[in-house]
Amino acid sequence: MSDNPIDGFNATIHASNRLRICALLDAVAEAEFSVVQERLEVSASVLSKHVSVLIDTGYVQQRKAVRDTRQRVWLQLTSAGRAAYRDHVAALRAIVGEAP
């Protein structure tokens, strides 16, 4: 990887909702889909669309589990996703002019 933090800028993560999803998931080991939806105040379809993009790029993985007879989806950042998110935040800080 380059020494220039700005090179960590990631167009996939930068989309507003995807950045917020990654930020929230970076703070936890994993979170239930409905919790992410409620915390970020987005519709299920919007969240689902952005999560699909993040899954396709290998940044997020999902796990299905049954609770109270209902199937729940748990989301978590992959190690590649966590690294990409952190590189992206470092790039944003570098653009702003903050030290990473």
Partner: protein, 155 residues
Amino acid sequence: METDAHPDRPSPRPTPEEARVALRAAEQARSRIDTIPVPGWYFPALALVIAVLALGQLLPGPATVAVILVALAGLGGLVRVYVNKVGVRARPGRAEGRLVWPPTIGVFLTYAAAAVLDLAYGQTYWWVAAAAIGAAIMLALGALIRRRARTSARA
């Protein structure tokens, strides 16, 4: 700022102001985790299990082992129910993790001291004090975490 940019399709880098807005949005999203309310029953139940672990030492040998095993299983089950209830599994090392370690070590040291006093001097009654201290530490931790969640939610 919303784009459907794809990694194979280069997207223009944001201006410093756009980057600042994005960082703020990320920080706000991240802090939303801190506002998830902790179920009221969780820390009292933890305190009870912690106390049972200490009080079990007062029982005769085989019963002590049984109580410890049941309490440890209860502890695991309690955490599992909590994670399923709140829909979030914490990441070790995060703020809450750092908040949890000192009291956990405090409970451990209290129980270690009670064990030493029991084994060295036969003063088994220290287990009662240790149980009370361990439960009080858990209840205080619960109050602290719940207050933090309320404060974060108001911010």
